[in-house]
């Protein structure tokens, strides 16, 4: 039911952790209604130099978090903001029916982190 890429990403997630002196932090979700995704970024010259995630959630929540951090790392923040569901789905070889909308959560956390950075650096 899950693609090989999902299982691989889930078993060996990239960029797990929290950046202590982060330039931007985004967190979505709550324990009441489910997944919590926390993304922190380190930015230099508008480029995401480092990015880490912590996620409480299902296989999809964890693997999309990992995929999003991989896709965003090294990108200019404006490029990173343009990342779409399709990019995440492609990176993971698709998601099962009923869970295919969930790639958006990790992207939302990333966007919040970038907005947080932009807010602080206005």
């Amino acid at each position: 039911m899950y693609s090989k890429k999902v299982i691989e990403e889930f078993s060996n997630p990239h960029n797990v952790g929290v950046i202590e002196d982060a330039d931007g932090v985004g967190e979505i979700g709550s324990t009441v209604d489910g997944d919590i995704i926390n993304i922190s970024i380190k930015v230099k010259d508008d480029v995401i130099e480092d990015i880490k995630f912590k996620t409480f959630g299902c296989v999809v929540a964890i693997s999309t978090s990992s995929a999003v951090t991989r896709l965003a790392k090294g990108k200019n923040v404006d490029e990173a903001l343009e990342l779409a569901n399709e990019d995440v789905l492609e990176a993971l070889g698709g998601l099962p029916e009923g869970k295919d909308k969930c790639s958006g959560f990790a992207l939302d956390a990333l966007k919040l982190a970038i907005e947080d950075y932009q807010e602080k650096n206005k």
Partner: protein
């Protein structure tokens, strides 16, 4: 380690079934000798099932499985031309019971869903209080398939009897694990599923006490005394009969073995990890059921990691688009939010060993620590 979901068929059961696919393939309704062999096999299986639960052969109706048995028991007691009737059940029943009740509700009948306490035991006072003049049936499961809690069936039977109400129990999870005797339990109907007790899928039975009047839900050539039409699944039924015999023969040894593994597993997980909770009743539980909740981690992720280590378990905490949904059973137990999303059911089988338990404990420890490290909720 997911034996509550299904079990492998015992080789002795397969051996018993095989001849009925080929040499003795007859149809029990045929008049000729090939048909007789089938009819005899059917009669023998009926005796085996009856004997295992202390019933008479005429009280056993063969069905296609536990789900159909539950449907037949519940819809069977409501004649289709009767007026509005009332049924009492519990909030933690299997979907085969709950969805059948929901169907009857949509047909205009009334259903009362009695709540359970934090350990999953039904509230007997509420049950008593909900009885009405038009109550025709109480249906409460013997043991719950998720959290393993065993209900006080004898007491419910007494209440039903005093009020002249039929009493059905879904014993799909208890047969072969705790003693199931229809007279000791005092039930009028009892559901059995073959594939939960090392028998084949596609076979089940409903015990219907003599004098209990029910109507069929499948119509046709009037097999099974008119209560379940359709050419009988002879090999499947032969397999169920054999599986029931084996289960009752080995009940003592098997249950003791499973219970030892269960208790060891639980205490060792508690020793190895903090922030763990046992769901279901501490002692009134199936000898093979372990249901644990782990703070800070989510059920499906644990399940997947265990699966990659070759350990099959199940979870009542499923994450589906936009929301994490806990099963109706966990929700009924009113688990705290912290614990409800990280539940795992480990259901042992007689063929498991203490080495399997070691491996599960080690793997669980590693996996939970790894997931907690990823979790924003935990401060590890």
């Amino acid at each position: 380690m997911d034996h509550s979901a299904t079990t492998p068929v015992d080789p002795l059961v397969v051996d018993a079934m095989l001849p009925y696919f080929s040499e003795m393939f007859g149809n029990s309704s045929s008049l000729h000798s090939f048909g007789m062999e089938a009819a005899e096999a059917l009669a023998r299986a009926r005796e085996q099932v009856a004997e295992a639960i202390g019933a008479s052969p005429e009280e056993i109706i063969f069905t296609s499985g536990g789900t159909e048995s539950d449907n037949l028991a519940i819809r069977g007691v409501i004649p289709h031309d009767a007026g509005k009737k009332h049924i009492i059940t519990s909030v933690i029943e299997h979907p085969a019971v709950l969805n059948t009740c929901a169907f009857l509700e949509s047909m205009g009948h009334d259903i009362t869903y009695v709540p359970v306490d934090a350990d999953g035991i039904i509230d007997l006072q509420e049950l008593k209080g909900s009885i009405r003049d038009d109550t025709v049936l109480i249906s409460v499961m013997h043991a719950n398939n998720e959290v393993g809690t065993i209900q006080p069936i004898e007491e419910i039977a007494k209440i039903a009897k005093e009020n002249d109400i039929y009493f059905h129990t879904d014993a799909v999870q208890t047969v072969g694990k705790v003693p199931v005797n229809v007279d000791d339990l005092g039930v009028d109907m009892l559901s059995i599923s073959s594939h939960k007790i090392h028998g084949p899928k596609g076979a089940g039975a409903l015990y219907v006490r003599k004098g209990t009047v029910i109507e069929p839900i499948v119509f046709g050539g009037n097999h099974e005394r008119g209560l379940r039409s359709g050419t009988e699944n002879i090999p499947g039924i032969v397999g169920l009969g054999k599986a029931m015999s084996l289960a009752s023969e080995l009940l003592g040894t098997d249950a003791k073995h499973m219970q030892e593994m269960r208790d060891s597993l639980i205490s060792r997980v508690f020793d190895a990890l903090p922030d763990v909770r046992l769901n279901g009743h501490p002692t009134q539980r199936l000898p093979n059921n372990v249901n644990l909740s782990f703070k800070y981690v989510e059920g499906e992720s644990m399940l997947m990691m265990l699966d990659m280590k070759g350990i099959a378990v199940s979870t009542g905490s499923a994450c589906s688009s936009k929301s994490m949904n806990a099963s109706h059973v966990l929700t009924s137990l009113k688990l705290e939010d912290d614990y409800i999303h990280g539940s795992l059911r480990i259901s042992l089988g007689k063929e498991n060993t203490m080495e399997d338990v070691d491996y599960v404990v080690e793997s669980l420890k590693e996996i939970v620590l790894k997931l907690r490290e990823m979790s924003p909720l935990s401060n590890s």
